[in-house]
Symmetry: C2
Subunit: 451 residues, 2 copies
């Protein structure tokens, strides 16, 4: 039952495609899950991909296209006429996937595809979904769901579910509404199975967390994770049931958000992975390297400004990497804790100033340890007392400064609605490199003039 992709399989398939051995190809992929076929397609060349897709049964084709990476899907749909996209793909998939696929198409093709959908109700649902912001609950939800009126009996409810279930792929909860479509609660299938036929549904329903169509999808993810929900109902601003979001879509949101934050910290913009082209990989990284370059050049101007000090005490240069590295490390530590807390909604109720005070305390302890070790090392190896003091005092100061910047910058970014994750990685290390140099040379003037 479990398939694992390997090189031999791909090579065998490629040979079969070259030889147009359709029967062999079909038998190789027949039993596979669309997610596996999508993975296989990702390893093939464009023409091979096209060839294989054409051999798949229509139902499988649609599900496979849903599973593809966005750029692979775009390439595949580019050459397909709008009518075929509507009939062979859109009509076979859930409304949320349909809306996603259509939103990726060029503007003019979107309307063509929509007008080619045979089922007017389905087309209407998709148009409604396209109106929600892509990163809102409305943009994430699907309209396919099973819902029953609270006034039904168990027997009538089961009949109703049978009717609706034939149109819905899979469902885990039955949502219960009143006659105005207002969400009243959820009916667990377990309760339905255990209840008497004549029992009224309204006596069996349980409270369920809901989200609103304009809630942010990160918020939806936090709610589903907190309450261990498999499916969450989405209501409009007056409480009418509009759709549902299932956990598999939210898992992707959680994964994507985490990856985005990870990539931002490592100085990469845009959603890339190691299989992307050299051009795409280069483009995603160069902006942050240019920021690093600008910072480095600014740093050289700063150090250049302390030229005379450096000529008098060239040994000061030895510790430039240490001061720069330590500031960067501490700033990243502080900012990543805040960014993670903001993303998880787990910062608690402490005020920003209390958080900064806490970080300053941590920095004071860590800075003192590091500065003390550096002091002992420098005295043992016989550096001048002025240099010993300069390095250790600078270390504490830089670490403190880095902790304050690292804590307050993401909090400030969040306030002014910039993604706080931007305030990690190269941005914050560069800032601290420059400040570190200013602090280091400023401290050195004091120390060398006194000792």
């Amino acid at each position: 039952m479990n398939f694992e992709l390997n090189k031999e399989f791909i090579e065998q398939l490629q040979t079969a495609i070259q030889e147009h051995a359709d029967v062999q190809i079909e038998s190789m992929v027949k039993e596979l899950h669309p997610a596996d076929i999508a993975e296989i397609l990702g390893e093939l060349e464009t023409e091979e991909r096209q060839y294989l897709i054409n051999l798949l049964p229509e139902e499988i084709t649609a599900d496979t296209i849903v599973e593809l990476e966005e750029d692979e899907r775009g390439e595949l749909l580019k050459d397909l006429p709008s009518q075929e996209i509507a009939h062979s793909v859109i009509e076979h998939v859930d409304s949320d996937d349909a809306a996603d696929i259509i939103s990726e198409l060029p503007e003019d093709k979107q309307d063509e595809v929509l007008s080619n959908i045979s089922d007017i109700e389905q087309a209407g649902d998709i148009v409604d979904l396209l109106n929600y912001a892509p990163d809102s609950a409305g943009g994430l939800m699907a309209t396919e769901l099973v819902s029953v009126n609270e006034e039904l009996t168990v027997r009538a409810c089961i009949e109703e579910i049978r009717k609706q279930a034939s149109e819905v792929d899979e469902f885990f909860y039955v949502f219960v509404t009143d006659s105005q479509d207002m969400l009243k609660g959820v009916l667990h299938l377990k309760k339905l199975l255990l209840a008497k036929d004549t029992e009224l549904i309204k006596n069996l329903i349980e409270d369920i967390r809901y989200v609103k169509t304009d809630d942010d999808c990160e918020e939806v993810a936090n709610i589903m994770r907190k309450y261990d929900l498999v499916s969450v109902p989405v209501v409009d601003s007056i409480g009418r049931l509009k759709g549902r979001i299932t956990i598999d879509d939210v898992v992707d949101v959680i994964k994507d958000e985490a990856e985005e934050d990870y990539q931002l910290m490592s100085g990469i913009t845009g959603d890339i992975d190691s299989n992307d082209s050299v051009f795409k990989l280069t483009r995603a990284r160069i902006p942050w390297l240019l920021i690093g370059l600008a910072g480095g050049i600014l740093g050289s101007v700063v150090i250049g400004g302390f030229d005379s000090q450096l000529i008098k005490h060239p040994e000061m240069a030895f510790f430039i990497p240490l001061i720069a590295a330590m500031g960067g490390n501490v700033a990243i530590q502080s900012s990543s804790i805040i960014v993670q807390g903001l993303a998880n909604n787990s910062l608690g109720l402490d005020s920003a100033s209390r958080k900064i005070i806490k970080e300053v305390l941590v920095a004071l302890v860590n800075g003192s340890i590091v500065a003390l070790i550096a002091l002992i090392y420098n005295m043992v190896v016989g550096q001048s007392f002025a240099l010993c003091l300069t390095v250790s005092i600078s270390l504490i100061t830089v670490v403190l400064f880095a902790a304050i910047v690292g804590t307050s910058l993401p909090l400030a970014f969040e306030k002014i609605k910039i993604d706080p994750a931007v305030a990690t990685g190269p941005f914050i290390t560069t800032t601290n490199d420059i400040m570190g140099m200013i602090i280091y040379f400023f401290v050195s003037f004091q120390c060398y003039s006194w000792f």
Copy 2:
């Protein structure tokens, strides 16, 4: 239906606890989900927490304790006698949560609690679960599930499900086995509802992905995510159904893995958040700062070794931060792509050498751009030709070196079973700082001797 924690609520609750206003307290938390109560407990002092817990009904207490953070739970259970832990907590929760809670207790208390569980079968299940590695599928699964024999009719199956469902909290799939307990497939509730009463279950079952008890839980997460599973059956080495893992547990695995990688990259060890104590926050960070310190000191030795060069050309010091920063940035970019690919199992089928070649290409492009800009800048501001060349040649070399190290180190770590995420963050920046200095001064000797 939706509760949001705020400062006023906590203050009101704290006042009520101080005044022992039990009726008011009970009315404040009565309608809340255990996850909300756990969040509230996280904001209270130890004695307040104890007081509130004692007021909760037993069923809610158990579920709330499951939802607590590990350290809060430990503190709470520390003072509870083993008998009470068994009867008031363990007997009310699912086997996977029970095993987790027991595994957190001190060794001697574990046996006491286990021997106090009234239901021998439940105790046996928990003991079995405790034998699996905590990060394996066996360690993650619960034994509560609904399974039926493939030979049953739909009518008999519904009867059987009714019987089993009363003991299981919630279920989404019915697993189907043969008379030897071997997993045969899954029965979707939808199919059950739509089928005729006399139909045999074996004609309704579908294939389902399964995992084995000793599979790694990251692998389980990847499978559930790939195939959009809400629940996955776990089988032993010969295919007998042993338990099931639900998506909510896997979401936590995904989240935890992502956070661990994020924290490792930012130089933090251990699972901490901003609400932890200053001591815990300090301890989680100091190891990486010490690595940074050691690297910085080593860097000072390297630069000290090129002492004479620096006295002759003090302007070389200006660009030390630039060279160090650029190497660190590129190394982190390269390593994070690999670490993410390894975590997602999305590296594809390319060999390690092809990946390194690709990274070298990207580095060559980015390094050239950065070096060219630096060259133009340095010539415009009138640096000596030797310094201009030194900086730009060093930049390309450092960037190339960083890309190779950043790509190969995590791959090598994975091979020798060290978490590749360790090869990001301070570890890799420190390595590249030192190498950067060696390259910079080595190049400068060539450039200054020729021009």
